[in-house]
């Protein structure tokens, strides 16, 4: 029971890190970026390649995966994404899905299509068990690690968005670009930084997730649905929404597969439909934002 809840939370946290960048670009920057999963894949491959080819330790690979995908995000934002900010959403969807297919094909071409296997350090491989019988809580160390990293990131993100000057600048730029620019905010730089951080988070999620979710070139397509569900259910105007949505989905997914294996993967979709009928805008919506 408790083990299940624990696994669900870890899975949810992972989904959150993967999807939060998308919530930021989609909700705050009002850009539909379906290529988000590609950045996650880049992070995953950076980790795998550094570990396999350069023999780097896992913990060092994580920040590098973040930086690598953030850098790629920044370059692409400057060169490809920026001209599309003012285009209709359909153009953005078509563009970013095209980018996804290109990413899939290039990963396939350059690295090969096999599932990549990473070797975790020993101290992350174990498992701690507490309690007895039905209330036993078995915690895989790696999942514990995921929860810790994700919690820290969530707090940091929430702090940056709500409390810092950068957060207010970002929110101002989103709500009205022209006025924000008039107030002396460099909107381009704010957007560039935000997009880079969003991509970096995706990369970090991909790096953390390679162990649990597997990593092959179809990763961006395989998990696109999950990202979109998290963002759709959670709403895009805050980060607490996607967080709770991801946790809910993670737990529901794991519990559903455990108790009703026959329905398995479908539980998530049923839950999403139910929530969206109840609250079409997502679970947590800030009133008065730009829609």
């Amino acid at each position: 029971m408790l083990t299940l809840l624990f696994d669900g939370i870890a899975y949810g946290m992972l989904l959150f890190i993967l999807a939060v960048g998308l919530a930021v670009t989609m909700g705050l920057m009002n850009f539909i970026n379906l290529a988000h999963g590609a950045f996650a894949m880049v992070g995953g491959y950076i980790t795998v390649l550094l570990m396999q080819r350069a023999g780097m330790p896992f913990l060092l690979c994580l920040p590098l995966a973040f930086l690598g995908s953030a850098l790629l995000g920044a370059v692409l934002e400057r060169s490809l994404y920026r001209p599309l900010y003012k285009k209709p959403h359909l153009d953005q969807v078509l563009f970013s899905i095209g980018l996804t297919f290109m990413a899939v094909a290039s990963a396939d071409y350059f690295i090969g299509s096999t599932q990549q296997i990473i070797q975790l350090p020993e101290w992350l491989k174990g498992r701690t068990e507490l309690g007895e019988g039905a209330w036993m809580l078995g915690m895989g160390h790696y999942r514990l690690f995921i929860i810790a990293v994700c919690t820290a990131l969530t707090i940091a993100l929430q702090y940056v968005l709500a409390k810092t000057r950068f957060g207010s600048r970002l929110r101002a730029s989103v709500d009205d670009q022209r006025v924000a620019a008039g107030l002396g905010i460099n909107v381009n730089v704010v957007f560039l930084a935000t997009f880079a951080v969003g991509s970096g988070l995706a990369g970090l999620g991909g790096a953390l997730g390679a162990e649990v979710l597997g990593l092959d070139p179809t990763f961006p397509l395989k998990f696109m649905v999950y990202f979109l569900i998290v963002v759709a259910v959670g709403g895009t105007s805050s980060i607490t929404g996607p967080l709770l949505a991801a946790l809910l989905l993670g737990v529901a997914d794991v519990a559903g597969k455990y108790y009703i294996p026959k329905l398995g993967a479908f539980i998530v979709y049923s839950l999403m439909i139910a929530i969206l009928i109840w609250r079409p805008q997502g679970l947590f919506v800030r009133q008065g934002g730009k829609s």
Partner: protein
């Protein structure tokens, strides 16, 4: 001008008469790409070793990538038959692809040599299908014979929810029950199931003697790692399965966690026979130390079956004559002695029980027992 055209025409006809075309349809990109890569490498190796002229005909290999999408496979087979006028269709990474081509093989009377796809019913979908890979019932039934003799009575099965998985589940369960064992729960995971945690937790709570797994080879490593991460080996649950989970292509990357896993399959890179040693050495030399896996051996033997049929018909036979010459072939494959059953057109072969061990610094499936001449159990009904 008309002379030139006439010459061209006769030239084309001449070329057609003297080439023997093999249309090899494989997934070269996408999730099953390793299958395609292994089979193509093996087919080219066979041609390099045995020459590209047989019975006075020049062999031409036309490789097409179907990306594991059955619609694409079907279209390519049509093009190969109608435009390229191939003599044999071969390859087929996944079951739906092999099935999609079956009607084309029947209508055009072109032999279809299945080198990978492993659902039992494939050969029944057209009288022109020959198989040189294996069937999942073959592999899983042998394991169900071995298990009860080795203290494994209560088993949970975990398979991917598609044709081969359901075959594996069904035949394993039937035979284990027949042998006095018991399958206490059958779990089917979605083919794209990202996280095995909930399923494995369920297995752990059910406390069986062993967990029987069939998942396509890429996902096997993930199952194994999560099995260990969950401490299931320490809880006294053994991991058994068909050889797909310890695919030779990936086994080395799986690390020491894989040690001791017992699987049943028809081929291991470590199979101890002179024929296999020669095969592995040549394959690794030609492909930058890539290990040949069970897919490669299916492709290699498939080429042999085609070559021998061409020899037997002296290069003059059409589809029916070739098919007749393919049936009943008996030969020594790198995997051991094999036989193409004339009745079912399916392969009859030894199934080996293997355990993962470290040999010469690498991980291998080391064979410790053999069940001889296993006919596909799916055909006995």
């Amino acid at each position: 001008m008309s002379m030139a055209i006439a010459t061209l025409w006769s030239g084309a006809a001449f070329a057609d008469g003297n080439t023997f075309k093999i249309g090899l349809i494989l997934p070269m990109t996408g999730q099953q790409a390793t299958t395609g890569r292994q089979i193509e490498a093996a087919a080219r190796l066979y041609m390099a070793q045995n020459g590209d002229t047989v019975a006075g005909k020049k062999i031409e290999l036309i490789v097409k990538d179907d990306t594991s999408v059955p619609d694409v496979t079907k279209r390519m087979a049509q093009e190969l038959v109608v435009n390229d006028k191939v003599n044999v269709l071969a390859g087929f990474g996944i079951t739906p692809s092999a099935l999609a081509v079956a009607p084309i093989a029947t209508q055009s009377k072109t032999p279809e040599v299945v080198m990978a796809a492993a659902t039992s019913s494939i050969t029944e979908s057209s009288p022109y299908i020959i198989r040189t890979s294996f069937t999942l019932p073959q592999a899983s039934v042998s394991l169900a014979d071995w298990a009860p003799k080795n203290g494994i009575k209560k088993v949970v099965t975990l398979v991917s929810d598609y044709g081969p998985g359901i075959d594996a589940e069904k035949f394993f369960k039937e035979r284990l029950t027949f042998n006095g064992g018991q399958v206490i729960e059958s779990l089917r995971v979605p083919l794209r199931g990202p996280d095995f945690a909930p399923f494995l937790q369920k297995v752990r709570d059910l406390k069986p003697d062993a967990l029987f797994v069939f998942v396509p080879s890429g996902a096997g490593a993930a199952v194994m790692k999560q099995f260990l991460e969950r401490g299931m080996d320490k809880a006294g649950i053994r991991l058994i399965g068909t050889g797909d989970i310890t695919d030779d292509d990936q086994l080395n990357d799986m690390g020491d966690g894989a040690l001791g896993v017992v699987t049943s399959h028809h081929y291991s890179t470590y199979h101890q026979s002179p024929a296999n040693k020669k095969f592995v050495e040549a394959f690794q030399k030609a492909n930058k130390n890539l290990r040949p896996n069970f897919m490669a051996v299916g492709g290699y033997d498939g080429m042999r079956v085609i070559y021998e049929a061409l020899k037997a018909t002296k290069g003059n036979g059409g589809g029916d004559a070739l098919l007749a010459a393919m049936k009943g072939q008996i030969f020594e494959s790198p995997r051991g002695p094999v036989f193409i059953d004339a009745q079912t057109r399916d392969i009859v072969q030894n199934i080996y029980l293997r355990k993962v061990e470290r040999k010469e610094g690498q991980l291998y499936n080391v064979e410790f027992d053999v069940i001889k001449d296993v006919k596909d159990p799916g055909k006995n009904r």
